[in-house]
Amino acid sequence: MKAIDIAIKDMKRSYRSAVGLVFMFALPLLTTGLFYFMFGNIASGGEFDLSVTRVIVADLDEGSPDLRAQMASAPGGLQAATLGQVVVEALQNEDLSDLLEVSLAEDPASARGAVDGQEAQVAILIPADFSRQFADPTGRAVLEFYQDPTLTIGPGIVRSILSRFLDGIAGTKIAVEVALDEGGPEIVERIGEVVRLYLEAALAQDADAAGMIEVRSPQAEHEATSPLVQIIGPIMGGMMIFYAFYTGFATSQSILREEEERTLPRLFTTPTPQPAILVGKLLAVFLTVVVQMVVLLVAAYLIFRIEWGEILEVGLMTLATVITASSFGVFFNSLLKSTRQSGAMFGGVLTVTGMIGMISIFVRGSPSAATLGNTVSLLVPQGWAVRAMTMAMDGATLSSLWPSLLGLLGWSAAFLGIGVWRFSRRYA
């Protein structure tokens, strides 16, 4: 119980240090934020602003008598006389107006010219025999799609809309062909009927046409695989580990600080066993780093939408990192005579080992350097923590994560064993 009291007191003191709070929480998030804004211009509330694609259509379709007869008799009145006109109407649908701005051209040359002149991004050329080819069971209805080669998103959307629309029509046609094979020539008239039904359904469900284009901002559900998150996720993880080790060291320093403040000798005058005092101090270090890690994991998810991986793997990775960071701090503080020597530790040991540990993050994009970088980073405990973290982020299973976790625990056992031994001897 007294150990818990000591831990709570130490944590209270840690969280009253403005400098400590900055290093624990603000700096890791700020550093990652810098990368976030450097690599992704999505600071405006996370909304993805998709510009309207200008489409110009040259509809030369002359129609087909059979098709026209059926479409004219459609309940609710389909006004389109040709299949080309149906395509145009589909593109001009109100639900697509946020995405497409459709205009008509007199002929294919002017439509192509509009694209060449950058007045439109896409030109759709509907040939004169489009309906006729469609109505012919052996025919092949083909649209020409002409786009600005420097663009991808806008033309891609138009292509998607058309593909879905035409896929549906093609499917209908196949169904009709099967029916023809089975039913004989008298069913020819039924082609139009089937197409009519399809078009009726297709146009009645225009909203679905818009729905087939799912426009999502980079923060939507597929963010984990977005390039931005792929870049800043490991960076945030690296920062989190770097500063977790910092916190482990800084909070472990409370042992030396209390010695200098004379509160530690005073604690020894109370009926509190020495092991309870040491356990309390270690517990404070551990819990402070736990709080820091959990806050940063959650904050990074909420702010940057970083997916850390499966809960069990992330939990174990976090636990192992916390234990290692805490024991690292205890070990290095046990080597110091006073807090005045800690500057060298902060500036030297923590920074150097932290940077070495993060090498593997910065060589992720370079396969040739990755092998060497990954090996070098494992020379320090931070490297093992980074490895476990990136593996968890990449969806590693528990069985593949175990070696990294055991590596971390190995470092911890060595650090903690030596650190506790030295402190126990010091205060014996």
Partner: protein, 311 residues
């Protein structure tokens, strides 16, 4: 009954013998002072009796518990006021008291009640929630002492609690020590201020170079110097022949020179002083100041060690 019984304690740090076989006992409910100059071994003795330092040899019993065999039981009956302020300055007085109360085993409502009582006692109820770092030196001293009183200990060690504070706070602390004695608490008080030891103590032990050179009541100690007066003189110039002449003067028992001042223990200052002036005139030396003290602890220390007990 003895609250504390010390037997042949020894403690060395390398070649430095900090405590050399001291023995004494302290009765229940008395104020016992350890008096001595800086480096005499007072704090080392307190640390040993607080079970922070382990003696190289010897033992002590505190309320019947051996500091060697049962240090936890000793600590449970003790309150220790360290020489230097030992507080968490980034916590408030109330938070400090609550934490230290828990370390002494207090919990829940009794702890909360005791914290309020102690805050009232040291007059800090209004400032209880302010951070200690914002307190004055005197306020910190009071909190420093209050922490040792939380669990109503049977024995309190106070290691030079009045060092570096203003006269008003010193007076307040000395009154507090007397109040503790009146409540039946045994107090072991260390100081190098002779006046404090003289005013407070039922009995006094004088330490020098780790050795206990005398102990007893104030009257018993003064009797050691045989009722001698102490005369301190300063001269216009150093004159070893004059000092030698004074040593041989009738009525002079002991002579020492420190920082240009000559201290003499004499049988009757009224008779001896004219002889001292005559001697100075004979050696052509002018006496620039004279200070006469009737028998006190300073004189005892001078008598026993040949040195002055300097503040």
């Amino acid at each position: 009954m003895n609250a504390i019984q010390v037997s042949e304690l020894h403690k060395s740090f390398g070649d430095v013998k900090a405590v050399q076989g001291i023995s004494f006992d302290i009765r229940e409910g008395e104020i016992f002072s350890l008096l001595g100059p800086n480096g005499a071994g007072k704090t080392t003795a307190i640390l040993i009796l607080s079970c922070i330092l382990r003696p190289d040899a010897g033992d002590a019993q505190v309320m019947g518990h051996s500091i060697r065999q049962d240090p936890m039981a000793v600590k449970a009956v003790l309150g220790v006021v360290p020489q230097e302020i030992a507080l968490y300055e980034d916590l408030s007085a109330r938070e400090n008291l609550t934490f230290w109360g828990k370390m002494y085993g207090l919990r829940g409502a009794p702890l909360r009640q005791r914290v309020e009582e102690v805050l009232e006692l040291i007059g800090l109820t209004d400032r209880a929630n302010g951070r200690v770092s914002k307190y004055s030196g005197g306020m910190k001293r009071r909190v420093n002492i209050a922490l040792a009183l939380l669990h109503k200990p049977q024995v309190i060690y106070m290691d030079e609690p009045t060092v570096g504070i203003d006269p008003q706070s010193r007076r307040s602390i000395l009154d507090g020590v007397v109040a503790l004695k009146n409540q039946g608490t045994t107090v072991l008080y260390t100081t190098h201020y002779m006046e404090e030891a003289q005013e407070l103590s039922d009995r006094i032990a004088i330490l020098d170079h780790g050795k206990l050179i005398a102990h007893g009541t104030h009257e018993e100690l003064v009797r050691i110097v045989g009722g001698l007066d102490r005369i301190t003189l300063t001269l216009s110039a150093e004159s070893p022949p004059l000092i030698e002449a004074w040593k041989a003067t009738r009525g002079v028992q002991r002579t020492s020179v420190e920082d240009g001042a000559v201290s003499l223990l004499v049988e009757d200052s009224n008779l001896v002083l004219p002889r001292l002036f005559d001697g100075a005139a004979a050696h052509g030396v002018r006496i620039t100041s004279v200070d006469i003290l009737e028998p006190n602890l300073e004189a005892v220390f001078l008598h026993l060690t040949g040195r002055a007990l300097r503040d």
